[in-house]
Symmetry: C2
Subunit: 225 residues, 2 copies
DNA sequence: GCTACTTTGTGCATCGGTTCACAAAGGGAT
DNA sequence: ATCCCTTTGTGAACCGATGCACAAAGTAGC
């Protein structure tokens, strides 16, 4: 250990971070099936990645494997969970309780590990007061109060596109710095704030692009992919 | 035919393809507001990217700009749409009509341009026969027949995790090669098939990772990001 | 203890993507 | 027609991520 007494380097590549949840899911599955240790090769297959990549990813967290043996499943679950911050409890607010918001509120995997839907918020008086997934839907006027009171640190935007930026600005104003945006708009935020975007229509368009090629677009060329 | 007689190079970088829908959306907004031409700088801002990147992206489609002026909005909309394959009509089937499937079926932006939800399919007899978003929910036994009959070329998987692989195998067997997967599993498919994955829980975990750092994880270090 | 075998962790070459910076190309004014 | 201004398109440097291939480090058997 040449440079520091810290096992983990604090600079984990973004691409690695994006894959850790994948490994974690595969590991959970293995733990449930009673698997005690796993090789990088097996775990890589389960997560759908190359084993060298997996090893390099894990090496960014520290040296948690044993040469000649593999990784201890439980231990690795713990280390990845801790690295991702899943050992603490995150309060999530969902703003916009339309079809999508409702689906998210009811989505099991959402609440599963580390995350807890702490508030549902909407502007429509028709919806406010309803109970969805065991939670009372609160009015958008209460947004700031609810976020503060419940200690919300992650906000999920499932509003119509027009409303997203305004809601975004308001939650940032009360200190939220992590936003998961389902509205099809480019949010403008200070760079202290993290926004992740999920856009169904974009995913479809990307599929259509590749499908068109396969089906033989103009000037159809046999391609190797 | 090495380079010049074809306007478009057939090898568009994946990263570029992923951004084209973003440009397209920004352009549609501009067209609606009556904007006739736009500079790479303005369009880049609207799409939330760097202007050099935008120009390089567009240059992969061909030389559709005018130096000193910018891009013709209508024309660019057409070119990008065509490149993405949105000038044709894609029949989409949604398998799994739970909360999420329902949300997707009702999601407006989904159907908007080029895509049409052509079938809803579920295994639950309770749901089969219901009308959702104007469509009759059909039984999973009809899967192959429905896909063929309606000319479905893109399948959206919104089933529980356990069912996803089986449904996936079946639709691939009848010739589907584009799948949008919302189930939290790694699908195994032949490499002639394109799978795109949307995983809500992974997105949250990535946010939690960054949030933890900002909030000061163990050994909190001031970082420059 | 020594040898044979397994599997990790990583140095290194490579690749795709981003960004800078500028020459080339057009428009408009005079 | 010429000059100046704007904006595109792209060569080239840079940066992060990927994947190969192997030494290091461990286990197991004798």
């Amino acid at each position: 250990m040449k440079s520091t007494s810290q096992p983990r380097d604090r600079g984990i590549p973004e691409a690695t971070v994006a894959r850790l949840p994948l490994y974690l899911r595969a590991l959970h599955g293995m733990a449930e099936r009673g698997v005690a240790t796993v090789s990088s090769e097996d775990l890589a297959v389960a997560a759908g990645v190359n084993s060298a990549k997996l090893r390099k990813d894990l090496s960014h967290l520290g040296s948690y494997g044993t040469r000649g043996v593999g990784y201890d499943v439980e231990y690795l679950v713990y280390q990845i969970s801790r690295e991702l911050g899943l050992t603490q409890d995150w309060a999530v607010a969902i703003v916009g309780v339309g079809n999508l918001g409702r689906a998210l509120a009811n989505y099991g995997g959402f609440v599963s590990r580390g995350f807890r839907v702490a508030a549902l918020i909407d502007a429509d008086p028709e919806v406010v007061g309803d109970t969805i997934a065991g939670l009372n839907v609160e009015h958008i006027d209460e947004l700031e109060a609810v976020v503060k009171r419940r200690g919300v640190s992650i906000v999920v935007l499932a509003t119509p596109a027009e409303a997203a930026q305004a809601v975004c600005d308001r939650v940032i104003a009360v200190g939220v710095t992590s936003i998961l945006n389902f509205a099809p708009v480019v949010l403008s935020v200070p760079d202290t704030v993290d926004v992740r975007k999920v856009d169904l229509s974009i995913e479809l368009q990307i599929l259509a692009f590749h499908e068109q090629r396969k089906a033989g677009g103009p000037l159809m060329a046999v391609d190797s992919q």
